[in-house]
Amino acid sequence: MTDAVLRTDGLTKRFGELTAVDSVSLTVEEGEFRSVIGPNGAGKTTTFNLITGALTPSDGIVQFKGQDITTLPPHERVARGLGRSFQITNVFSGLTVRENVRVAAQSVNRDDINTWTALFQDKDDFESINAQTDEILEQIGLAARADEPAETLAYGDQRRLEIGLVLATDPDLVMLDEPTAGMSSEETQATMDLISDVLADQSLMLIEHDIDLVMRVSDEITVLTRGQELASGTPEEIANSEDVRDAYLGGARK
């Protein structure tokens, strides 16, 4: 067995009569850039939510770094190194850029904080957290704007901050939910550059419906239709697969 970061086995989610995700088994190796694609309603976002813990599966298991995390709440998954970004930018808009990153860094540096300091020590007095915050602000290129409220940032910079928040939690695997939704092709390119730049050391799992994008950046692609895994393989294999062409590239392509 190689070092799988993430493994799902028979992952299933039923909403009443509807089976949104039907027995999906996939494995993401360490360092891999995995994309999950599929037409609307294929179960991409539900799969995403099952892995991050926003939803609990009806059946099947989720393993992360060899441990069963199927029933863990989201925050414990984050603590184990499973990060996620949001499709709609979701940052702490009323807080400063620095505080956004700092509070995320604080979450994974809890060993440096005891009950007393958690309540009575100034939040900016923790060296390790400050160091990590500064490093990430540099990486996402927002160090110069660190003291501005996040809500005053332009959209592109908010996306950078969003990625910065994920990065600050020191993840081994980052789940990205359509990070370029609603973006122009230039913005899309900038965002993908940012991802490959700052998230180079992480395993990535991208949920996306933009097939061209996926073909360019992925190591491995999983195609879902109607909640089931249709095919998995390298971009070439997917591009050459009859099944995929029939079900997705040809017919249902938006």
Partner: protein, 676 residues
């Protein structure tokens, strides 16, 4: 005979229940469609009854009643339309919190207008003679008016249902309650329908007021006494659900009436044991509501799931007001404390001793408001029942003084611990529901405690507790407050002045400790939760746990304020109305917002401004509530970030005047509604 009695009570329950149905239908649809928690609904209900009085009196009962039944609701409906247009409309997209403040202001204004126009005497709304005749159906004697109430309300409820379900208007309104944005996106101006909904809701409330006015009587507190049960009905049935309003209304009416009628009745006599109906009138509906919300958070017929966070509208915190930097604020704080420290002497010298009592009250409420700011301004939770901690703190302190010790330190310590424990329990049960549901479930807990203190011997029932006294000291070493008499420079330092300095010390300490905690890692997590709960969860925080801890902290501080109330030498009685009445939960929210939440000092300032203003105004006019209510309304509309934001608002205005001719720089203006 027993059965006939039961059926009679059942019918009485249905009669009252129908009134709740009419009230709840409006409230529920207004909430479902507009996301507005309308506290003024009870006053619109009362207005209906009063207008009916004015119509019936000159025309006589026989025709006047029928005219009133049509005309008064129309008048109130038009008033509702006016209210919606002028005050509620500018607030769409804001957090429901602001509607609470706004409609709370409306309650004060309308209630005072009613007192001004119709007087405070209880009045009788006469109904046509034939309606008062008793009718016997299957041997059950009830006046025809009961049947009339049930029938008339049923017809109106059915009419509303048809309006909602069978017409184009209704379809749009229902679609709006599912997804407002979507309705806007298909090109329908949903705002116009809001006015209609609010107007119809107001008219239905007015009908309910007339119908109940004819059954019981018309008085100035009638609105106040129905609004909380009406909210229970709405929440129980499911916010926004018409079916829920009907079912919940009848259920609450029947349960209330039966519990009252059969209070203490022996159900079964089993020799050794007797099974009696517990003395639970008042408690039952709140227990019912808490139970339902715990099992089914969206209510019995509610379909709405968790509210999406985007739709909630953000909470506008006081902010730092770029104008004043840290050192200026620090200096201002020192000056404020120094002024407070010499204030009693100034009052002694000028012979205005009485105002020391007012200052004491302000200090107590400043700590209470501070406690609310921890959960509301820093964590983004809006509890509608915060007075439960103030009240329980006061009761706990009084009971400890009566039964155990009079040492202020132990008394206050006990009040803090008991309230923190209560907050832990209430928090554990209520924090899993969010938004409006959290607000409502805390309200239910507060009302439960309010009803409970009436019932128990050890809490002194409606009289409350008296005969306690605090001692400045611990372990038997110390002085009872009443024995403290000092002479400084020829002025007598009486006990309330001693208490004043004690409260001032505790107030400053609470503020400093709270500020420390909010600037520490724990506080920073709370603020991230306020900004985005989802995000906080996915950077690795156990949001529920943090919220619960914040609630416990807040409960403890509120317990301190309640304890101080009991310890104060000018407090002789701790009564339910003084401490646990729901109005106080509203008041503390109001003064927190008034001051500027999320700043800690803002709410304390708000307490001073609110109580000071109340004191001054009540000296000049009997209509001070109206003035205060209008000030709330103006504040919500124009200064939503509270008093502490005034310097930056003024600076902005000055800027704008100086840059006359430049295009307005409104784009990044934080005061602009973000959802517009």
């Amino acid at each position: 005979m027993v059965l006939a009695d039961f059926v009679e009570q059942l019918l009485n329950g249905l009669t009252v229940g129908m009134v709740y149905v009419l009230l709840a239908a409006g409230l529920s649809v207004i909430f479902g469609v507009m996301n507005v928690i309308n506290f003024s609904h009870g006053e619109l209900f009362a207005l209906g009854a009063y207008f009916a009085l004015s119509i019936t009196n000159p025309l006589g009962a026989e025709t006047g009643f029928w005219v009133a039944l049509v005309a008064a609701p129309l008048i109130v409906g038009v008033i509702g339309v006016g209210i919606e247009r002028l005050t509620i409309r500018p607030l769409y997209g804001r957090n429901p919190l602001y509607h609470i403040l706004l409609t709370f202001g409306l309650v004060l204004v309308i209630n005072d207008l009613v007192r001004l126009v119709w007087g405070t005497e209880q009045q009788q709304l006469v109904v046509p003679n034939f309606l008062t005749q008793p009718v016997a159906v299957f041997g059950i004697q009830l006046s025809l008016y009961n049947y009339f109430m049930i029938g008339f309300a049923a017809i109106l409820a059915a009419g509303t249902w048809v309006l909602l379900n069978k017409t184009k208007y209704g379809m749009i309104i229902r679609a709006g309650s599912q997804d407002r944005e979507m309705v806007r996106n298909v090109g329908i101006d949903i705002d116009r329908y809001y006015t209609l909904v609010f107007g119809v809701g107001a008219a239905l409330a007015a009908v309910a007021g007339i119908v109940l006015g004819g059954y019981q009587n018309v008085n100035t507190t009638m609105g106040n006494s129905v609004i909380i049960p009406a909210f229970v009905v709405v929440v129980l049935g499911g916010l926004g659900s018409f079916r829920g309003a009907v079912f919940g209304g009848l259920l609450v009416g029947v349960v209330q009436t039966l519990m009252r009628a059969y209070n203490g009745t022996v159900l079964a006599d089993l020799g050794e044991f007797t099974l009696t109906v517990p003395n639970m009138e008042g408690l039952t509906v709140f227990l019912l509501m808490i139970g339902v919300l715990l099992v089914k958070p969206q209510g019995l017929f509610g379909t709405r799931g968790e509210e999406s966070e985007g739709g909630e509208g953000e909470i506008l915190v006081g902010g730092d007001g770029g104008l004043l930097n840290e050192s200026t604020k620090f200096k201002l704080g020192v000056v404020a404390v120094a002024l407070l420290a010499i204030a009693p002497f100034a009052l002694l010298v000028t012979g205005q001793r009485y105002y020391v009592t007012v200052l004491n009250e302000i200090l107590i409420w400043a700590i209470f408001a501070l406690s609310l700011d921890i959960v509301m301004g820093y964590t983004g939770l809006v509890p509608l029942g915060h007075t439960m901690f103030y009240g329980v703190g006061a009761y706990a302190a009084a009971l400890v003084m009566l039964h155990y010790t009079s040492s202020v330190f132990l008394v206050l310590g006990a009040a803090i611990l008991i309230c923190a424990a209560l907050a832990w329990i209430v928090g554990a049960l209520s924090i899993r529901v969010s938004g409006v549901y959290f607000a409502m479930i805390t309200l239910a807990f507060a009302e439960l405690l309010y009803s409970a203190v009436f019932k128990f011997e050890f809490t002194g029932g409606s009289d409350g507790l008296l005969g306690f006294e605090a001692m400045m000291g611990i372990a038997g070493i110390g002085v009872p407050l009443s024995d403290i008499e000092l002479l400084v420079l020829g002025y007598e330092i009486e006990q309330r002045i001693v208490f004043y300095y004690f409260a001032l010390l505790l107030g400053v300490l609470s503020f400093l400790v709270a500020r420390r905690i909010m600037n520490a890692p724990f506080g920073s997590v709370l603020q991230s939760i306020r900004e985005s709960q989802e995000r906080a969860k996915f950077i690795g925080y156990d949001v529920t746990k943090y919220k619960r801890r914040a609630f416990v902290l807040s409960g403890g501080v509120a317990g301190l304020s309640g304890g101080l109330l009991a310890v104060s030498p000018t407090t002789f009685i701790i009564s339910p109305d003084q401490t646990l009445y729901w109005i106080h939960s509203g008041e503390v929210i109001v003064l927190t917002l008034l001051g500027g939440m999320g700043t800690l000092y803002g709410p304390m300032l708000g307490a001073g401004a609110f109580l000071g203003l109340e004191e001054v105004l009540s000296g000049y006019t009997d209509q001070w509530r109206m003035v205060i209510g209008s000030i709330f309304i103006l504040f919500v509309l124009f200064v939503p970030r509270g008093l502490v934001s005034v310097p930056s608002l003024v600076a902005e205005r000055v800027d704008r005047v100086q840059n006359e001719g430049d295009p307005p720089v409104n784009i990044d203006d934080p005061e602009v509604n973000p959802d517009d």
